[in-house]
């Protein structure tokens, strides 16, 4: 605990009280932030997990009958005994959900509603109920019915815990086939995206073509729009009334084709960033050696370039895989009949109010996401060792033909990206596609559509700003505590683990977990349910990992000597933090806040279960308007998000350039 004090000053006892007070405060901070992650991540996930084990089944031992066929009432007998006798229901037939109903007449093979037989029915324990017509009867008295009324009785299921939900899931082909579909789409999209992004990154890094800066900018566009926007563009391009539907040769865009094209669009920048970084760190000396040995370009590519970038490629692949398999907006818009896991969660919860099955699908979806995440972590750890201090950056030499190919390729990709966005903007301005192609702004009259109107746009901006503000503070303080404190090794490493978790948790799963956790009357935090606050918390948590890593990287650049010197000068840690650390890390802090803002504007999956009528969001409005069939207004709102994010980026650029000039002058010298 006093290790640094001991190393910096021999007169340790003198300084000790000061540092240990600091340490205590910092320990307090770590605890608060760890608690934050526990409450916003671990507890909700636990609540969801336990929900997936909460089952409903018909408890036949809980119901007793008496029958009177005209010669007096029989002895009471239980429904379970009757079932045993006639061998009607197997145990698996009795598993259901909270809205399951079972008609007791099924237990009487010779039942006829015309017969004069009288029936009595009662519940043994008062923990469930039965319905007569639609009236609920939950007492434990005997109730008598003639046979015509008896057929209008249904008994309800009682709650239990167990694995039954999972059994039901895996015995429903329509449900578990989604696993196969999701994996297939994710694999295919990953392969295509990574190849395309690699080509693009290769062209930018290894050629001397023109317009590199422009291409870089264009490639980042998809980050600025919700993932479902490409889906809407594809409908206008390849739908039955599409502009160029002929290109699909009669195939339907609704289904795997649409999902894959859209997925490639929205994951492209994520893959590109990682691969560009990987290519940029390749060692130029290896290429010099290859040229000296007169190795062909082709051979150099396979023996030097690919192995050098392999960790980046693997990492990009897993990131893309995870993004695609957990995305919900795109398959919902263009998936047609093709079921995917993320959409199933939505269908179970919103369509059937079957929260338990929603939780089961969430658990299933978590598995591939967690797997991809842990492999990626493992690979990334290895990559660090590959860098050497003596590496020389590679600088490409002009090669006319190669440059021309690169330019052509990048232009094609750029046309794809800009094209989809332009189609959305065009569609938003058309009065009534395809019958009235005059330009108008009617589609911007959001008030008369589902989704919350312009208010939702304002709400989204608020969410973005609050998320950026609160998130940046929480993330940076958290990273600071992990990076710069002494001791508390166990707390710090468990915090580090918690901070990495959100990347593996699909947004929908997190959102659903928040319902279970926060919408519980026993939860003291129940009050934030349905407010903007819960969405801010959810969004910050959802995007915690990348922000945390950015902050940690920035902090790692700073020598720990600063803290040691401050300690020896008897300066409290917060003075170093505010006077030195924060100003030095300012560019990264701004990056974190713009990252959080942009994502809060575009995210759908994390907030789809959490918004309330007062807190509708623009991104959710895009989804809901498309869902209601108002596709053009959905495109219009999507483009509003795009322009807002572009604006935010420009402001970010302007602010950071000015601030950098003021705070980062030391870097230049």
């Amino acid at each position: 605990m006093t290790q640094s004090a001991a190393t910096t000053a021999p007169a340790a006892p003198l300084i000790k009280p000061k540092t240990s007070k600091d340490d205590r405060i910092m320990a307090g901070f770590i605890l608060v932030i760890s608690l934050y992650l526990l409450v916003t991540l671990a507890f909700p996930l636990y609540a969801m997990l336990s929900k997936s084990f909460s089952t409903y089944a018909f408890d036949l031992t809980n119901f007793e009958f008496q029958v009177n066929t005209g010669d007096g009432w029989s002895e009471p007998f239980s429904a379970a005994a009757q079932n045993e006798k006639i061998q009607k229901f197997k145990p698996e037939d009795l598993v259901t959900s909270s809205d399951g109903r079972l008609a007791p007449t099924d237990l009487f093979p010779d039942f006829s509603f015309r017969s004069p037989t009288l029936y009595k029915l009662r519940q043994v324990r008062g923990d469930t109920s039965f319905l007569f017509k639609t009236d609920r009867i939950d007492d434990t008295d005997w109730h008598e019915y003639n046979s015509n009324d008896f057929r209008r009785i249904v008994i309800r299921a009682s709650a239990d815990t167990g694995l039954d939900n999972f059994r039901t899931y895996f015995s429903t082909p329509a449900l578990f086939r989604s696993i196969e579909n999701s994996l297939f789409i994710a694999f295919l999209s990953t392969i295509i995206t990574v190849s395309l992004a690699f080509g693009f990154a290769y062209a930018i890094n290894r050629s001397t073509m023109r317009f590199k800066g422009l291409f870089r900018l264009i490639a980042m566009i998809p980050i600025l729009v919700p993932s479902l926007l490409p889906g809407i563009a594809l409908v206008y391009l390849f739908g039955n009334q599409g502009m160029i539907k002929g290109l699909l040769f009669g195939e339907s865009i609704y289904g795997p084709i649409g999902i894959v094209i859209g997925s490639v669009f929205f994951t492209f920048p994520h893959a590109l960033i990682i691969i560009t970084t990987a290519l940029a760190i390749s060692d130029g000396r290896l290429y010099e050696a290859a040229t000296a040995l007169r190795t062909s370009r082709w051979r150099t590519f396979w023996t030097v370039t690919i192995p050098g970038a392999r960790y980046g490629l693997i990492s990009a692949a897993f990131v893309v895989f995870n993004l695609v398999i957990t995305d919900f907006g795109l398959p919902k818009v263009i998936g047609g009949q093709y079921n995917m896991l993320a959409v199933d969660i939505y269908k179970q919860v919103i369509g059937q109010q079957n929260f338990e099955m929603g939780a089961v699908v969430s658990v299933v979806l978590l598995i591939p996401a967690l797997l991809a995440f842990s492999i990626d972590r493992y690979v990334q750890k290895k990559q660090v060792a590959q860098l050497s201090a003596r590496s020389v950056p590679f600088s490409p030499k002009p090669h006319k033909q190669f440059d021309r190919i690169c330019l052509g390729y990048c232009t094609l990709v750029a046309i794809f990206i800009v094209g989809l966005i332009a189609v959305c903007q065009y569609a938003a301005l058309i009065k009534f596609w395809p019958y009235n192609l005059s330009l108008s702004l009617v589609n911007y009259n959001f008030k008369v559509m589902d989704g919350g109107g312009w208010d939702s746009y304002i709400n989204s901006i608020q969410l973005g700003l609050y998320t950026a503000l609160a998130g940046t503070i929480v993330v940076f303080v958290g990273a600071y505590m992990v990076e710069k404190t002494n001791g508390f090794f166990a707390t710090r490493s468990s915090f580090q683990f918690l901070a990495m978790m959100p990347m593996a948790i699909p947004g929908m799963v997190l959102g659903l977990a928040y319902i279970f956790f926060f919408n519980n009357p026993d939860n003291p935090l129940n009050g934030i349910y349905g407010t903007l606050a819960i969405m801010v918390i959810c969004t910050v948590t959802h995007f915690y990992t990348v922000s945390h890593l950015t902050a940690v990287t920035a902090l790692k650049q700073m020598d720990r000597e600063f803290e040691s010197v401050a300690a020896s000068l008897k300066q409290p840690f917060h003075k170093v933090l505010s006077k030195v650390t924060v100003p030095v890390c300012l560019p990264s802090i701004l990056d974190i806040s713009i990252y959080l803002f942009v994502n809060a504007m575009t995210t759908v999956s994390a907030v789809i279960f959490l918004y309330s009528p007062d807190t509708t969001l623009a991104s959710v409005a895009v989804l809901n308007m498309d869902d209601a069939g108002d596709v053009a207004p959905a495109a219009a709102m999507g483009m509003m998000i795009f322009y807002t994010n572009v604006g935010a980026r420009l402001i970010h650029q302007f602010v950071s350039r000015n601030l950098v000039r003021r705070t980062q002058a030391w870097r230049g010298t």
Binding site: S97, D99, R177, G239, Q241, N339, K347, G351, P613
Partner: protein, 345 residues
């Protein structure tokens, strides 16, 4: 000068008095939290008309689509936030009734309503407002391009010429989809006939949508020429200028109603009852009639523009009790038969 001052001050006093009066009135006013699935554009009008008679009750709307409002109410089962539900599908209210979430109440004048629109309990748990009725939206322009003839009956839709030109909502996510399926089962046979019909219909369906209004909007936009949806939506799209014909199949059409109920555990019992009382008055029914052709009070409804004239006669005698109590079974069976990739097309 003095006069002016007196005038001024008396005016000020007047203003103060009025504003105090207004304040005292607003403090007396009750806030009612009302959950609803009524179209957003109608809500302000509903509240305004109600407030003309009851200015002391202030409605706080919580609006979303039927599925989401139902999910929300069920999620809040042990911690209800709503006082009243005004304008939610009867099927959803039946589900809530079976959970014991509704407070039975016999509103004044309930005997004037069509019996179909009142819950069968001795003290009704809910009362209906209006009906929304299934219909087929038929895009004449696109259909002509494909050489289709307008269908007259549900069984017409089974003809091979409609293959791939038909779209309908998924009953697992849409209330409209469920009322279609439950009506076919009631018309063509609950055990066998209905499923046979859907087996054959499934071959013609291009895909199933999540929401009930989307098929009609897609038909209006020409994306798919024929959308199985509901009449209200079709009339609206037609009013917007879409080349639509709203077809009511001859066998009859399914329907569900929007209904009103008091949530058990409300702390504003009296205001809630006032609202429910008002919600079944003639005035309220006339108000529903501006959008819906069929309302709970007989003799009130006037024809609504763009609605097919024979709609009323074609509404089936819907057995809500059967539909509600078999919902789970029907949806499971539907899922098994149609909602998986290998079976599609």
């Amino acid at each position: 000068m003095l006069k002016k001052l007196i005038k001024k001050s008396s005016l000020a006093a007047c203003v103060a008095g009025v504003s105090m009066l207004a304040m005292s009135q607003s403090t007396l006013a009750v806030d009612l939290t009302v959950y609803t699935a009524v179209e957003a554009e109608d809500l302000a009008r509903y509240a305004e008309t109600f407030n003309k008679d009851h200015p002391d009750i202030n409605i706080k709307w919580v609006r979303d689509s039927t599925g989401i409002v139902t999910a929300k109410l069920l999620a809040e089962k042990n911690n209800p936030q709503a006082d009243v539900v005004w304008g939610l599908a009867a099927t959803s209210l039946l589900l809530m009734k079976s959970e014991g979430m509704l407070e039975p109440y016999k509103p004044k004048g309930v005997e004037k309503l069509d019996k179909k629109f009142v819950d069968s309990g001795a003290v009704p748990s809910w009362v209906g407002m209006d009906a929304w009725v299934a219909s087929v939206c038929y895009n004449t322009v696109e259909a002509a391009k494909h050489g289709l003839k307008p269908p007259k009956t549900w069984t017409d839709l089974l003809k091979p010429m409609y293959k791939g030109h038909l779209i309908m909502p998924n009953p697992n996510s849409s209330g409209t989809g469920f009322l279609d399926v439950s009506s076919w089962l009631q018309m063509f046979g609950k055990e066998q006939g209905g499923w046979d019909f859907m087996d054959r219909l499934h071959k013609n369906i291009a895909r199933y949508t999540h929401s009930g209004s989307k098929p009609c909007k897609l038909a209006a936009a020409g994306e798919i020429p024929i959308g199985i949806s509901f009449a209200f939506r079709g009339a609206k799209s037609k009013a917007q200028g879409a080349p639509l014909e709203i077809i009511v199949p001859a066998e009859g059409v399914g329907w569900d109603m929007e209904a009103t109920a008091i949530i058990a555990g409300t702390s504003n019992q009296k205001a809630a009852q006032t609202l429910v009382d008002w919600s079944i008055t003639r005035k309220a029914n006339e108000m529903y009639n501006t959008g819906y052709a069929v309302v709970a009070m007989p003799g009130v409804a006037k024809p609504v523009e763009h609605f097919p004239p024979n709609l009323l006669d074609k509404m089936i005698d819907n057995d809500f009790e059967w539909a509600a109590n078999n919902r789970k079974k029907i949806l499971t069976e539907w899922l098994k038969r149609y909602d998986s990739k290998s079976d599609a097309k």
